[in-house]
Amino acid sequence: MVGEIRVAINSDQDIVSARQKGRVVANELGFSSGDATLIATAISELARNIVSYARKGQITIKKVNGHNREGIAVIAADEGPGIADIRQALRDGFSTSGSLGLGLPGVRRLMDEFEITSQPGKGTTVAVKKWRQ
């Protein structure tokens, strides 16, 4: 694959195309089909958060190198309302959009590394990684 893939997220249709692209990249990087499913599911949840809370944003999918290992990074960035209380948003069952509220803690369980930065009024960026077994 060349560099990184960026998918603009503006509608529910983009959620589908982001997760499909994520699966393709995961397969190219040699992830098992089970792990590719976990990655695609995480991308689906992150893209849905963008559509639900920020309306538009971007998902970037790229290869990452660690100590003697390779992996995939997914960065979901938006300029939406941001999250006032990140700790609360990471708790199972918390939601402000009437959804199940399982998004972020679920994504954290699907992936190996999880980082979130958010500023109220400025936007949210969630960066996750999964290492190839």
Binding site: T37, T41, R48, D92
Partner: protein, 120 residues
């Protein structure tokens, strides 16, 4: 993307494709309930064999479909959840509590035929 709904005697069979958007799922939810009313169906089989991702929205929609159809007096069986999809669902904390599931279409039909003692 249209989801084909097949009428098989007293049952309806809806086959999901891989790339269903939220809008498709919402449309299907309404369409299925309407068809259950129209055909006075006893049960609906939702075949998700082709779905490679079942995220929180898709699971919630399936649960809602099953509950709506139950209110109508019919039953829903979800068939064909792939092992990898099941694994991802559990990691994500998603459940289909209170909704019948079966291995595949054949098992789903066998379960319903036994339950309703009908010959299609």
């Amino acid at each position: 993307m249209e989801v084909p709904i097949l009428k098989q005697g007293a049952f309806l069979i809806a086959t999901f494709q891989a790339a269903l958007s939220d809008a498709d799922l919402n449309q299907l939810r309404m369409g299925l309930v309407q068809q259950v009313v129209k055909f006075r169906s006893r049960a609906v089989i939702v075949d998700v064999t082709a779905m490679d991702v079942m995220d929180s929205f898709a699971s919630r929609t399936l649960r809602e479909i099953a509950h709506m159809i139950r209110l109508r007096g019919a039953e829903t069986v979800i068939v064909g959840i792939q092992p990898e999809v099941a694994f991802a669902m559990v990691q994500l904390g998603l459940t289909l509590e209170g909704v019948a599931t079966a291995l595949d279409l054949e098992e789903g039909l066998a379960y319903l035929n036994e339950k309703f003692k009908v010959t299609n």
